[in-house]
Symmetry: C2
Subunit: 416 residues, 2 copies
């Protein structure tokens, strides 16, 4: 079946916001076996919206409209669709009660125009809104289906997960299950080369690679038959991939590398301290985004100047003079000094040249050292990174965290 | 004149990326007096792309196509447009030389399909690509205009600025000049209330408010007549706004608050150190994003635990016991301790409860103290913030930086 997403909102036509709603819906359609060949965006204008809905309904089976469900007169998606389908709007008592409770719970005054949000075209299947006052809905007429969802992204994504996906799955009877394997430290082409046979030769399970910053994901997907389970089909393929590239695999699922390392620290009951130079607090900041991390992250020091490296971390004058602040020796001493000063189980350090200035022939922009000091060993790694300042900082952070991940998992580490 | 953006790419229909290209182009159209009523997205499929172009050309004056200019057979935007307009593709010698130089400069092998990127429909006005191998172009046929731009966002934005905007301005002869005033510490409704008359009553200059996280922008726009200058029209309006809300104004232009504070530090030749708890390195990280900042940012300490607050910053046991780590007294001692330890001119501190856990009745989630220690004085401010963890951390950071901004500008500060 073909789905067409119609995004409604003058703010999209003016470029005030990016259309993340369409992206989110589009990203989920494959899971329920839906195709999508067109998307349209139109402003808050009834005549043009009618024209857009008519075109979408003429070439697609399901039209998904987003936005324009608010309480103001500008918001006219529902009214326009009702007009297009020649259906009256009727207030839904359950939605009215939910809206009233939601408003009262937040101490907000209910104004007459709020009641506009709880009226729906006759025959609509209502999608409750657990994060706002405007429910969504689906309805069918003359063999075409129409879905209307609220525009605010936090309301929309929730409603897609809770209501749209089950609704679409009910229509196709198809269930496509995916599993994502995330790798760090191996490039897309190297991984594709290693898995060549697997990428070509799968019968039912498709394996699709996606490249991100410093990492690669493989998405395994399989279309299930009635009553079939996914695991027996996906597990053997995952195992074949693990046999080839298991040491680079950091996650089966959706978590990012910082999240995985944060959870691993909490699981193992280990503490961490950070000594950052060119990443400038980025590691501390990303890690602190994880609730509950305060137990594991003892402290971090951002030591941009040589003075701070000496004073706060005890890096020796000799190392700074002879090797320089961007050196393997300095990264090691930073990690060891921070581990000693903080009393943490592990300390990570990063020192490098993120650019755009500060590079020399011997030490070009992109030269970065990451260090790890732990109970059993200290190691440092040299990285030669490309790209702009932000990319170099981010890749430095990810490499430092991956080093810690490997140490926490007990992998053998050496200087590199 | 009406512009319609047509985004080409199966990756958009699959939701693999957000359509930031359309957003960027859309956000610039108003500056040259262009209207836009529709956007379309379509995959890499010739029949459907033809249908989409035909619809766009039937209702808009200018069709802007993005994406599908790469070297692979999938990339067929240019070929499809040439077919639609019944024009042959011809290689452009200057573009060919530029592409060859670009590839050689990066040590990349030129393959036959690269030459596909330097052929254009007859009569095209070529837009050079300074960031990649695929130039864009514009052409007119039978009173309709077509523009084609490359999909990668860094190439597209550059080409929009350099080539599309002058091209569009040449068509309308209209020039709309905007100036953005950015405010921190005052809400949108308070600002709108204070400026009520101004927002209603401008003859030629329109003033439009936009709300961001913790800040509000006002965009002043004026459509210029032939040979007219913008400043004499915008300056008096800016002055009226300054008279009412000047103390909240931190920027006339595009810079963010962290960028403004970073530049101010460099200008004044002052140094800074940071003691962060609940922001966890975010201030240091955002500030280090500014090249050249290493001279001003001496160091930062992320002291999540009480132990680190005592040990690294010299916060007294008494304060931690009696007032707690989240208190005005602790914020002050953190800033003063960090200023002493680092030798910096100014030190900023942040301590608070970012949630979702850790709140109590006396000290709920969102209670944050920011502190500033400087050569002349030390102050701390209490904030009561709402929203999720990330929002609370971000607002804490912005409030701390705004405190520093006011101190650097010599504004009178007091505890609040």
């Amino acid at each position: 079946m073909k789905v067409e997403i119609v995004s409604v909102g003058t703010e999209l036509l003016m470029g005030q916001i990016a259309n993340t709603d369409a992206q989110y819906i589009a990203s989920r359609l494959g899971e329920v076996g839906m195709d999508s060949f067109f998307q349209q965006t139109v402003g808050d204008n009834q005549a043009r919206l009618l024209q857009t809905i008519d075109l979408a309904a003429s070439r697609s089976d399901i039209v998904v409209l987003t936005g324009g469900l608010g309480p103001t007169p500008d918001d006219l998606t529902k009214e326009t669709l009702a007009k297009y389908l020649d259906l009256p709007l009727r207030e839904d008592p359950a939605s009215r009660r939910a809206m009233e409770a939601w408003m009262r719970g937040r101490g907000r005054q209910i104004t007459p125009n709020n009641y506009k949000q709880v009226a729906f075209p006759e025959g609509a299947l209502i999608f409750p809104n657990e994060r706002g006052t405007a429910p969504g809905f689906a309805l069918e007429k003359d063999g075409k289906r129409f879905v209307v969802l609220p525009g605010p992204p936090n309301e929309l994504t929730h409603m897609v997960d809770r209501s749209l996906m089950p609704y679409l799955q009910g229509l196709t009877g198809e269930k496509i299950v995916s599993r994502t394997l995330k790798f760090f430290g191996i490039g897309e082409s190297a991984l594709a080369y290693a898995l060549d046979e697997l990428l070509q030769g799968q019968d039912r399970v498709t394996v699709a690679p996606y490249a991100g910053l410093g990492e690669v994901s493989l998405r395994l997907s399989v279309k299930l038959l009635e009553g079939e389970e996914a695991a027996p089909l996906l597990d053997p393929v995952e195992q074949k991939i693990r046999d080839v590239a298991g040491q680079y695999l950091y996650e089966v699922g959706k978590r990012s590398l910082p999240e995985v390392v944060g959870s691993l620290l909490l699981e193992k009951g280990c503490t961490l301290a950070l000594a950052e130079s060119c990443t400038g607090g980025m590691i501390a900041s990303e890690r602190v985004a994880l609730p509950g991390i305060s137990a594991a992250l003892l402290e971090g020091v951002v030591c941009y100047s040589n003075q701070a490296k000496r004073h706060r971390l005890g890096v020796s004058e000799e190392t700074l003079q002879q090797e320089g602040a961007v050196s393997r020796a300095c990264a090691l001493e930073m990690a060891q000094g921070e581990r000693r000063a903080s009393g943490a189980d592990y300390a990570l350090s990063v020192t490098g040249i993120a650019g755009p200035d500060g590079g020399t022939e011997q030490k070009p922009v992109g030269l970065v050292y990451v260090g790890l000091a732990g109970p059993a060993l200290s190691v440092a790694r040299e990285l030669r990174l490309g790209g702009d300042r932000q990319r170099i900082r981010r890749l430095s952070m990810l490499n430092a965290l991956d080093l810690l991940r490997r140490a926490l998992l007990g992998q053998a580490l050496q200087d590199a």
